[in-house]
Symmetry: C2
Subunit: 377 residues, 2 copies
């Protein structure tokens, strides 16, 4: 089967680029002497996760309990659920743990720690818990100097129904850094925040075996992770235009694309119209605030090479509108009805989520495999 | 089962509001003497489609062949696939037709008409085809006065492998009209475009039995559809904040919401953090360009009533950040960890697509039913 024979839109994954991206991150973190706990929220695919783990310890990060279920069903047991736990998910976590999945959870407030401890006591469970640290003001987490850190640590350590497993943070604000120097500074800030928390917990006589950081930009450019035990990252597997826009990868590293077909034109406007709209690309416009706005994506030929400075300038649900980036003239005759095109996404997590499978190519246009992916909660 | 017992995030559909929305559109179009061909791209649910059809003729509009397959599997045979056909989908259309689905297709250029005719001839098929008309410069379609209309019509009528079934248009630009007067004017423009095309085809001796228009705003405010035979609309079933923002519905009409749970706070910023991020809401920011920017959605209590002027101001993949719309002070103690909230979406089509089922309530918080919905192609 060749890409040209597929019904469109559909998702294409270049396994050659995937392997290169996986190897580069593994090599970099290995040099820094820190473990990688891949975040499977981007790929949501057992085949991709297995390549990311590369035969090493089968430890992953998940963003939903659905991911925990799916990867546990494929034999992965060491799972960090890296979204602050809510009370209505504890029965599910208990059930997973009872079945043999070592699911660790996170939280950032005393109230949640108490509820988790109470639930564990009622269920005869001992939940491993990491305290979430706010290293960049981006979303959740306790501030590194907050008294709450020690209060939460004490609740977790003193309850027989919880195990204080450590601290974790996500420097999500690294996505907004526009130079390598800023990303590197953010990596230090991310590291310093959790290392400081580990020191404070130790000084209070509390354990902190795991010191976890993670975001693809900081993981890529970190140059010293002393005191950190593990790094979590997910987007690095596929990369995307947002990452390329902040120099975390090149456009050529992007392993994910959406295959589309030309369905018509509006010659007076210089528009090519395809069957890949926002439903296929997602509504993510992550490059809108970057130096180069890539619209809904960079347009490539069927072999995956960017063409003619084309981007997807607008999207309806099942229609994509393609035009020259600079509004320049375009020879529409080069793109007749039926032409296959591949669109590189702004955000791999968002675009992947719109699809239920990967059509895997190895650099060319031959479909070597079809890998399922799942969605939802 | 009550909404408070569900794992979050998940999708909630209020069947009371749904029924009201469906009845209002049916009544309005019935008064105008025109048929309704519901667009199932928003709901992607057989239960919702059956309510929308209300025992009338089982004729639907779809945006993907997956929708055609799913609804045909439930006995609906009169199907308009309302996205310009590409050559790589014709085998699938032929297969559906062979199995008994009366799938009609659309196109807007001579090249496509010739390819469809050639495919039909090779397959021993006769494809029903509507010509897509551009009534508002929004995306695809031939201009009402274009010579291409008659050229395409002749190709389709003269080939034994195609049946010229009529003309259709979608005034998508009505989503950008900010007053009822402008929407009403757009409805006239939409009608005039296809009625003019039907007249031109007739003058050329070509048939045009179907004259089809459709968009929720124009369908809602059209006051005279003389010459039109059918109206297509989909968002009217659920409505959303984009529609409320242009006075096509009220916020109280919105039948769809995402159930979320509070997982923490950032007191210094006045933030409530929930487990419904952009994965649950979609990345659609359709109200960003409207008079009132609703962020990622309007926040309601578990019973569906908007609370405290709260909106979802930001989103990570699985985290939603909620704050006061006006940046004002918020009593976080009213929203402790575990509090269930419902978020009204910007765009029902995009938010629905992130989920695989509806939790159906009838105005309250009791879950009366769970209806599956599908996604993809």
């Amino acid at each position: 089967m060749d890409l040209r024979e597929l019904e469109t839109p559909c998702l294409v994954l270049d396994s050659t680029k995937l392997a290169r991206n996986l190897g580069r991150m593994r090599g970099h973190l290995s040099e820094l002497g820190v473990a990688l706990r891949p975040h499977v929220k981007t790929a949501k695919s057992i085949e991709v996760a297995q390549l990311a783990l590369a035969g090493g310890p089968a430890a992953i990060t998940v963003s939903t309990l659905k991911e925990a279920e799916q990867f546990f069903a494929h034999g992965i047991t060491d799972i960090l659920y890296a979204v602050g736990i809510t009370p209505n998910k504890l029965d599910h976590v208990a059930d997973l743990r009872r079945r043999g999945a070592d699911v660790a959870i996170i939280l950032d407030n005393v109230e949640s720690a108490q509820r988790v401890a109470a639930h564990g006591a009622a269920q005869g469970m001992r939940y491993p818990v990491l305290i979430e640290i706010d290293s960049d003001g981006h979303r959740s987490g306790v501030k590194p100097e907050s008294p709450a850190l020690i209060e939460i640590g004490r609740v977790l350590h003193e309850s027989g129904a919880t195990e204080l497993r450590g601290v974790m943070t996500h420097a999500g604000d690294s996505y907004n850094c526009d130079t390598v120097a800023k990303i590197r500074a953010m990596a230090r800030q991310e590291r310093d925040a959790v290392v400081r928390c580990a020191q404070r917990l130790a000084a209070a006589g509390l354990p902190c075996p795991v010191v976890s950081v993670g975001s693809t930009p900081t993981a890529t450019y970190a140059d010293d992770l002393t005191g950190v035990t593990e790094v979590r990252a997910g987007v690095y597997m596929f990369f995307d235009l947002v990452m390329a826009g902040i120099s975390v990868c090149t456009v050529d590293d992007i392993a994910l694309s959406v295959l589309a077909t030309v369905l018509g034109h509006q010659a007076d406007k210089g528009w090519i119209i395809t069957d890949a709209g926002w439903m296929a690309m997602s509504r993510d416009r992550g490059t809108a605030g970057q130096k180069v706005d890539q619209g809904y994506g960079v347009v490539c030929d069927v072999a995956g090479h960017p063409v003619d400075g084309l981007i997807m300038v607008a999207a309806n649900q099942e229609h994509g509108i393609i035009a020259c980036r600079d509004g320049g003239a375009l020879d529409l005759a080069r793109y007749p009805v039926g032409t296959p095109l591949r669109i590189l996404p702004n955000h791999a997590c968002a675009t992947g989520a719109q699809h239920d499978r990967y059509h895997v190519v190895a650099g060319g246009t031959a479909v070597e495999a079809v890998w399922p992916r799942f969605s939802g909660w």
